[in-house]
Subunit: 340 residues, 2 copies
């Protein structure tokens, strides 16, 4: 009834535990016949290598870590995280690795988690998202020599492989769509200022707008939550010369703002067009359904996972580039008021 060890197998077969270890790991040094008997007894006893013992002797935890460092509120509401975790876990388990997951409510706890995981030899590497302004994580991980891959940065990073995203084309598509519908003043409700995404999107949307004659841009700050998005939208629409379309940096803010706008008598898309950066069920089920910039988060997370495994295995991994997002046009984008 007790969980068997290789010693139990060795005793049952009548060989040394070294022979058992060799046989089970498919290495030389055992005859074909003995190997077969060992394997047979092993499966019959339901033996599996103790993860602790294997980790201790091989100096490999066969585990990678991810710290989700966002407010519980955002974690609960943003479908992104579950997709990320699901995509990653499937890849890892296919390669015999596990996922160690932690939540951190503040940056200090997050850094402390990496230190602890590494010192406890709990993980062989970590996967990071949401690069911040003055982000302390790359320096810490380099100092500790923790294999790490950064998911979704905009450009290479010294000493840490990145899976990078380029939002150049998607910003162009969005602005082109809106300009083609006659919009002349575009609103942009941004994410938290400390996230690098935010700066990048600001730049790309700004560039695309500047390259489009006759199109102006106004911005306001959101925080990815419903309330933050609604407040930013209200400020934009209350201005002297309000925008006729608004691009939201995530789906939650877009959806909440549409609901609020319609309560205030602003019709979507007749009075206001809406686009969401990030697609999810939210954008599909609300009415009007929201035009969104979609990409496959699960597949991207899986890709990052493979990079990290390669880095752990070989010590190096090449940067890679994520496929650009796709503009899914739904009902929330229409002609500018008085156009056409």
């Amino acid at each position: 009834m007790k969980r068997p060890t290789i010693i139990d197998i060795a005793r049952a077969v009548g060989v040394s535990k070294a022979a058992v270890s060799y046989a089970l790991n498919g290495r030389g040094g055992v005859s074909q016949e003995t190997r077969e008997r060992i394997l047979e007894v092993a499966t019959q006893l339901g033996w599996r290598a103790s993860s602790a013992a294997r980790a201790l002797s091989s100096d490999r935890a066969a585990t990678v870590g991810v710290v989700l460092a966002r407010s519980p509120e955002v974690l609960r509401t943003e479908p992104f995280f579950m997709q990320f975790v699901a995509g990653l876990e499937q890849t890892l388990s296919a390669h015999g690795f596990s996922l160690q997951l932690a939540l951190a409510s503040d940056p200090v706890t997050e850094l402390e988690t990496y230190r602890r995981w590494w010192a406890e030899r709990r993980v062989d590497g970590v996967l990071l998202t949401d690069l911040r302004v003055d982000d302390p994580r790359p320096a810490l991980l380099r100092e500790l020599r923790v294999p790490a891959v950064f998911f979704g940065t905009e450009r290479p990073m010294a000493g840490i492989p990145v899976l990078w995203v380029d939002e150049h084309d998607i910003a162009d598509s969005a602005v082109a769509l809106l300009a083609g519908l006659g919009h002349r003043r575009i609103g942009h409700v941004q994410g938290p200022a400390q996230l690098r995404h935010t700066a990048r999107r600001e730049r790309e949307v700004g560039r695309a707008a500047a390259e489009t004659p006759g199109v102006g841009l106004v911005r306001d700050q959101g925080d990815y939550t419903e309330d933050g998005g609604v407040a930013a939208t209200a400020r934009l629409l209350d201005a002297a010369d309000p925008p006729t379309p608004i691009i939201f940096d995530n789906d939650v803010m877009a959806v909440a703002s549409v609901a609020r706008a319609e309560e205030l008598g602003v019709r979507v898309p007749a009075d206001l067009s809406v686009l969401a950066w990030d697609d999810s069920m939210l954008c599909r089920v609300v009415r009007p359904a929201i035009t969104a910039f979609s990409h496959d988060v699960g597949a991207a997370a899986a890709r990052a996972g493979v990079m990290l495994l390669e880095l752990i295995e070989t010590g190096v991994a090449d940067d890679a580039r994520l496929q650009q997002r796709e503009l899914i046009r739904r009902e929330s984008t229409g002609a500018a008021p008085g156009f056409g």
Copy 2:
């Protein structure tokens, strides 16, 4: 630069590693003075016990496992799972435990995962959700003697502590609300037939309706997805004598069905009232906002986590009962057509 071990500390202080171990674990057998020197050197070197070595010698992985056994589709869209994982992880980490997470696309893989985890001594116990009809999991876990807690069953289970939920009162509240609004024929779009939740809710709603004079009930089968919910709703509404309110077994089906209904010219709540079993942002942001049966999933998961830790620690844990859900009344419920 290399990660320090207790031997490094012992060398630095000039004592044996046993002394270091005793000092670090706050046991007797070391003088106050030596203890302090050891602790000082330990923190200075940034020492942390190797999780593998500790697991090996203590026969404790300090980890609990959860297998999420739903389709990727449902996992992505249902906010329940992220809330569950987040609530659980926070409790576990507060007690020095980690969460091992896996996805399983089918029941066979799920069972295999428990076997593997246990044989590999990877987890000290597991937490289960979504009891099914003829569920093979309790028997397997009893056979393997894996400490396990079942989350959200309706009644006690032989040999496995459960955190049970009682939907008696919430079914009463829902039916009372609808009857009070003049509704006489209630629809119920159910979840997958193989889940025990489904049977329980069927029974409770059926009982509450039967106990309410003049109220009838019609049911149809959904599968927790958007498409499944919409199809079941269509069947109910196409019938000769369609219901005027529909209770949906989850938020996704409710929200998708409302969107579809309005496209077909069925106004909510004027023509059709809607209630969702499970609350989430979805119910809040759509218009009309959906009346829902809410409960704090994160807190419930944390509670189940504490039960499991107690079971692991002491070998026994008492069954506990979850607080009943609360009916959050929003805009999707109104008077029956022609009532009042």
